[in-house]
């Protein structure tokens, strides 16, 4: 994984989108300090069987979304972000797959207090919307 170019601090946004007909899509957007996209990685839909659902039980989400999908996406990144932001606590299982710092965007203020200068001065929820739009577009294109 490369270090970001000089003067460019990347930050990662990782989320998943579940589709009843296709399965689970993952999306990972790396943006610069002003929110412009540097890289985008998304997965083909991942389907789990009913048996897998039963056997994994409540651990399935974290295992599939956080570790399996999230891990694959973060590994695919070329630029090394300062921080990877996710939307739910279960996605934090990503930490088992990467050395990068991972944090949940639940409440922005404590996050800013904790990470300070690591965080860009942008709306931290907005890039997740972009990921969802991009995934929906990819889905429409098959």
């Amino acid at each position: 994984m490369q270090q970001p170019e000089e003067g460019r601090a990347a930050i990662g946004f990782l989320t998943t989108v579940a589709s009843a007909s296709h399965g689970v899509f993952g999306g990972y957007l790396l943006v610069d300090e002003v929110g412009r996209p540097l890289e985008f990685h998304c997965t083909a839909p991942v389907r789990v069987s009913r048996a897998q659902e039963i056997l994994y039980g409540p651990t399935l989400y974290g295992e599939l979304h956080g570790r399996r999908i999230g891990g694959s996406l973060v590994q695919a990144g070329n630029v090394k972000p300062r921080l990877v932001l996710v939307e739910s606590q279960q996605m934090m299982q990503l930490q088992e797959e990467t050395d990068l710092p991972v944090a949940v965007v639940d409440s922005e203020q404590p996050l800013r207090e904790r990470f300070g200068d690591l965080l860009p001065e942008i709306d931290l929820r907005e890039p997740f919307e972009r990921i969802r739009e991009a995934i929906a577009e990819a889905q429409r294109h098959g």
Binding site: R8, E33, E39, V46, R68, L73, E126, P127
Partner: protein
């Protein structure tokens, strides 16, 4: 009754269900031999795939220029809600609005390109991070207009007049030039709007160098050939005249923008042929009236915007569907929530060469006379010169050539084509008469103090009721008070009155409570002339009630009252002359 023979299973496995034997009560039961032959139990094993499926990843990378450090503005500050000042001057906070995003146009089919657009931040962030600062904060619908234009190779921005089509185009050009997507842009507009485009380009894109194609053939050839000039500005007539030259020089543009693009609706016209012959990657058309008379107008427009996309045989519905992704049309009522009830525009224009020469001679001669008069020069003398110069700003006395009329004609074309009504104000009845002749195709009606009351009433009635009359021309004296003309959405101040309060009264004929929509007010102002100097003085004054008040028509000026508006010093300073008292002292 015969007893049915009993059939017993030969073997019963441990897994078999318990057998139930039954018989009737008449026959004795017979001993049933049961032979149990136990067999080994078979267990069927099933393996479940516990491991989760493999994940396939698709990747997209983007190459961006480094963001300037100064662009790291806190988002919260950028998103602070704007305030709008209403009629009463009360400020009301607007709710935080969603920011405009650039969406991929329908004709972009490559997934990676579509995703590229979808992953961009909102337009305002892009502009902020590109260090593109605007002189005024654009309205939300104007940001949406930019987001519409930016990704499109073929686009028609068909906003109603007064909503800032040129400003939206200029800001998007700026964005494309900054991002490297456009290096050479050609803007073509009517002759009367060239100076307006120059001014708007200077205001909204001050960093862009602009070459204006004008003058003699040799000069134009040189101007066309200029390299490293991001924006070239030409009028339609010049483009038609230089069509072969443009072809010979093999000029090619990243973007061609046509203003008042309804001019090319007739495909057989030379103008249409000339613009369609331009080598270009992107084609944008700006027009408030994309369809003036028939669907064929739109077909004509699209022969430039996206050749072959639509054709004559299409039904209006088919046509509408085909062009829907390429046309953006907002009327004032659609964006009224974004707009103040009155939009003021200064139409700054340059005098024609004929006017400029007449003006120069009159000013030199007048100033010479004032200087010669010494302390004997009075305010009256200064006023006479001011009026003379103002008249030249309207029309060249010898040829009647007028930059203002050229501009007014271009504006009225759109007003009339969209079925709207306009009021034109002038200080002079004589000017109204000249305008009537030049603007005959718009069915002008006059309203001034020289007309009997019955004729004035009739003019108002016809203007209100007859669609063929698109314009009513009024003198400030007669038309500034007492009339309710709020069905007119456009007001043009052909020349300026001495007092903004009188101008406001005139504007309020159209802009009144109960009017159906906003009013667009356009003030004509000739650059480098007395009009500009007077405007500066007036703009600097805040106490309007103390300024010259003369609602009398024509040249009947009350010099005593005039002095209340302009001090003696201010009046003489219009010509860089000291006031008489100081001159006397100096003498």
């Amino acid at each position: 009754m015969a007893t049915p023979p009993l059939e017993l299973p030969k073997t019963v496995s441990s897994s078999a269900s318990p057998q139930v034997l039954s018989w009737d009560g008449l026959t004795l039961p017979q001993p049933v031999p049961v032979c149990l032959r136990p067999e080994p139990i078979e267990v069927e094993r099933m393996s479940l795939a516990v491991s989760l499926p493999r994940v396939t990843v698709r990747s997209y990378a983007f190459h961006l220029p480094p963001a300037p450090p100064s662009s790291r503005q806190p988002r919260a500050a950028a998103a602070s809600p704007p305030t709008v000042k209403g009629d009463q001057g009360a400020e009301t906070a607007e709710p935080v609005r969603p920011r405009a995003r650039i969406k991929p146009p329908g004709d972009v089919v490559k997934l990676s390109e579509r995703i590229f657009y979808l992953l961009q931040p909102d337009l305002e962030t892009i502009l902020e991070t590109s260090e593109l600062v605007f002189p005024h904060d654009p309205y939300p619908f104007q940001y949406e207009g930019m987001a519409f234009l930016a990704p499109r190779h073929g686009a028609v921005l068909a906003d109603e007049m007064g909503l800032g089509k040129s400003m939206q185009a200029i800001s998007t050009i700026r964005l494309l030039v900054r991002s490297g997507e456009a290096r050479r842009v050609l803007v073509v507009c009517p002759k009367g709007l060239v100076s307006n485009w120059k001014r708007e380009l200077a205001e909204w894109a001050p960093e862009l160098v602009v070459a204006v194609i004008e003058g003699e053939p040799a000069r134009r050839r040189w101007q066309w050939k200029l390299e490293d000039v991001p924006v070239t500005l030409a009028n339609y007539e010049v483009l038609v005249r230089d069509e072969r030259l443009v072809e010979e020089l093999k000029l090619s543009y990243d973007l061609v923008v046509l203003d008042e693009a309804q001019r090319i609706k007739n495909r057989g016209s030379r103008t249409s042929e000339a613009v369609r012959g331009l080598r270009r990657r992107r084609s944008w058309a700006l027009t408030g009236t994309p369809v003036e008379n028939s669907a064929a107008d739109l077909v004509g427009l699209f022969e430039f915007v996206s050749p072959g996309m639509v054709h004559d045989g299409m039904t209006p519905r088919m046509l509408g569907e085909a062009v829907s992704d390429h046309v953006l049309r907002r009327s004032k009522d659609k964006v009224l929530k974004d707009l103040p009830p009155r939009i003021d525009r200064d139409a700054t224009l340059e005098l024609s060469p004929e006017q400029r020469e007449a003006y120069r001679l009159a000013e030199e001669e007048g100033v010479f006379r004032l200087t010669e008069m010494g302390p004997g020069a009075t305010i009256q003398h200064v006023f006479e010169l001011v009026l003379r110069l103002k008249q030249i700003c309207n029309f060249d006395p010898a040829t009647q050539v007028s930059s203002k009329v050229d501009r007014l004609e271009a504006e009225l074309e759109e007003v009339a084509a969209s079925g709207r009504k306009a009021l034109v104000f002038s200080q002079w009845v004589e000017t109204l008469g000249k305008l009537s002749k030049r603007l005959a195709r718009f069915g002008p009606l006059e309203y001034h103090g020289g007309m009997p009351t019955s004729a004035r009433d009739e003019a108002i009635k016809r203007f209100r009721e007859k669609s063929e009359h698109s314009v009513l021309m009024l003198s400030y004296g007669a038309g500034a008070v007492g009339l309710n003309l709020q069905f007119s959405e456009y007001v043009f101040l052909f020349d300026r009155w001495w007092n903004p309060a009188i101008e406001d009264q005139a504007i309020n004929r159209a802009h009144r409570i109960g009017g159906t929509g906003g009013v667009t007010v356009t003030r004509f102002l000739a650059t480098g002339t007395i009009e500009e100097r007077i405007d500066r003085v007036l703009a600097g004054k805040r106490d309007l009630s103390e300024m010259i008040l003369s609602t009398a028509e024509g040249l009947a000026l009350d010099s005593q009252r005039s002095m209340k508006g302009f001090t003696q010093e201010e009046l003489f300073s219009l010509f860089n002359l000291p006031p008489p008292a100081r001159r006397a002292a100096a003498a």
